[in-house]
């Protein structure tokens, strides 16, 4: 039973502010993923929670108690480091037993606990080895074992599988998820990989330059990004962003991409919603994921003529760059749908998948059609 709460955290390194007014409440047993680019302050946040870094402002509460004055060794939190995993001078067994020895348990208990964790992680056969004899994946398994063995109040993991190759990462991701479901402890997991975040998180916390951008379930963050940063950071391929002007015409809203000959057709409610949200032409950005761009090979009602530029065949589907006026829109189609680059096709934007942002602040107007 562990809740963690961050209230108004501020952190500077010298003159550089690394965390800005960070507020976050983490529920018991929750798997939170801190997602953001390298250098955005994820590690610093994690270290502050663990007690390895002081904070300048705000409160960190664990189970309702402020912990700023409690040393790292007394916070009962496990930490899997980004750059460090195991002590080279100890065997795997000793590495896993090390946190237990701090609690001065007796030898048979320690032996039993280590064996139990090793069994869970399927590393029993490695216990007598030195870390230098382990593969990257096994090292990280042991590192996670080190964290699990103590049954800490919370687990903090800083890009624990970031250094592994893609295939192994996928494997380990599944394993971490399985472990969390089985063991169920409050976990904060840091990554810069949005796929990892989406697949693991109960809730994702997106950070950018020390500022929390959005907190939400993977679905919320994906389907309702709070701003342009989140919209472009989460999801692959990246969401299309283009400045547009909106006008009303014959019971339809017309969304015109700058420089395009024809406008896209939208339900008429759009104009009212935009006005209500205080959006103005000239300061409006449309965002749409490639799967929200519908492509037709013949002229159809509400479709705009465009030219297919580049086709990336990805096996299960193709990603096509469409030239709309001076802009490129990327669309996702069935593979082989458009046979050749240079072909003239027709495109439409699925209004249900369109996002509208304030161009200057980047904030979403929160309009769903």
């Amino acid at each position: 039973m562990t809740q963690i709460e961050l209230r108004g955290i501020e952190k500077h390194f010298g003159a550089v502010q690394v965390i800005k007014n960070l507020n976050l409440a983490i529920a018991d047993n929750e798997f939170i993923v801190l997602l953001g680019q390298s250098g955005c302050g994820k590690t610093t946040t994690l270290r502050a929670i663990a007690g390895l870094e002081t904070i300048d402002e705000g409160d960190i509460l664990i189970d309702g108690r402020p912990v700023q004055h409690i040393k790292a060794s007394h916070r009962d939190i496990a930490f899997v480091f980004q750059s460090f995993s195991l002590y080279p001078h100890m065997t795997v067994f000793e590495n896993i037993a090390f946190p237990l020895r701090a609690m001065r348990g007796n030898r048979t208990d320690i032996e039993r606990e280590v064996q139990a964790v090793a069994k869970t992680l399927q590393i029993t056969h490695l216990l007598a080895k030195r870390p230098s004899a382990l593969s990257g994946g096994d090292m990280q398994r042991v590192a996670i074992g080190r964290a699990l063995v103590r049954r800490p109040k919370a687990m903090l993991m800083d890009e624990p599988i970031g250094a592994l190759d893609a295939k192994l990462r996928e494997e380990m991701r599944a394993e971490i998820k399985r472990l969390h479901i089985k063991q169920g402890s409050t976990t904060i997991y840091v990554t810069h990989d949005q796929v990892e975040a989406m697949s693991l998180a109960d809730r994702i916390v997106v950070m950018h330059e020390g500022v929390l951008q959005q907190v939400g379930t993977p679905h919320e963050v994906y389907a309702r990004p709070a701003n342009m940063f989140v919209a472009q950071f989460v999801g692959s391929p990246v969401m299309n962003m283009t400045e547009v002007t909106v006008s009303e015409d014959a019971g339809h809203a017309r969304v015109l991409v700058r420089g395009a000959p024809t406008a896209f057709d939208f339900p008429s409610s759009l104009t009212a919603e935009l006005t209500a949200a205080g959006a103005e032409n000239g300061n409006l950005t449309l965002g749409v994921r490639p799967e929200g761009v519908l492509v037709s090979r013949e002229a159809r009602e509400g479709f705009v003529p465009v030219e297919a530029h580049i086709i990336e065949p990805l096996g299960s589907h193709d990603i096509i760059d469409l030239q709309v006026g001076a802009q490129m829109l990327r669309a996702r189609t069935k593979s082989g749908f458009v046979p050749r680059p240079g072909e003239a096709v027709w495109a439409r934007i699925n209004p249900a998948q369109a996002h509208f942002f304030d161009s200057s602040t980047g904030t979403s107007f929160g309009i769903r059609l």
Binding site: L52, K71, A78, F79, S83, F84, H89, P99, A102, R146
Partner: protein, 319 residues
Amino acid sequence: MAAVQTRSERALNRVAIAAVLVITLLFLAPIYWITSTAFKPRNLATTIPPTVIFEPEISPFVKLFTKRSQLRAAPEPEDYAAAPWWERLVFDGGEKVVRSGRGDVQLSGYPNRFMNSLIVAITSTVLAVSMGTFTAYGFSRFKMKGEADLLFFILSTRMLPPVVVAIPMFLMYRAVGLNDTHWGLIILYTAFNLSFSVWLMKGFIDEIPKEYEEAALVDGYTRLEAFFKIVLPEAATGIAATAVFCFITAWNEYAFALIMTNRRAQTAPPFIPSQVGSGLPDWTVIAAGTFLFLLPVAIFTFLLRNHLLRGMSFGAIRK
């Protein structure tokens, strides 16, 4: 290294090996000279050209450890017959062993000086390395004001040739009564080695990622526990290398030992050459003293050889 060598690479390799051999021989020559002289009969010690083949004997070592005086005449045959084998060796050299009134053999000054050397070198090494390790840890792990200046200041104590301060040190030591004491030399050598030890250990400790300790901290250990359980074992290589260097410096130090000590706390380096002065020098005894003096460093270095080799390549083999 490439599995297949070209002809020119092979030739180059041979030249390199030859060069290493020559250099090694050059370094070993004095050691050979000392060792062979230490086991030579006295009359062969100074022949020109040098005697290479001889029957080794240990009379130089017997003489080294005993107090002797010149015999004016050959020893009485019954005295000679009654003497133990080692005393006969001294008689053979035209000397006799000095005995106390109660008939005990008087030891020469050497064993005492040798012990002094051991006491001073070992204690000052332990002090310099342990203080250096703690200090280096502090410099390595904590931010402090003027860190770079402080480190430079510590190093700057080594920039002056030590002999420059010998006279003031001598006067100060005399004033506080540290002259000719073990502690006097120990303090001197510790201070002398400390800067070196701090710098060397800082390099080694810097190489240990701070996450190693932080992991221990979040695992529930105190910083001191983390230091002893994590930093020290990880720094063992560096500690061994630093200890060897400090020990060699303290063990070999001559100038201060000569000035600051004369009897009670005198170490071997100023003592050995002082034996040259009295009468006709017996080079074999001096060589024997020097030979024994070489052993502790050789043994110490040999025991720590694995650590030393790793210490030398530290940083190169880690990512």
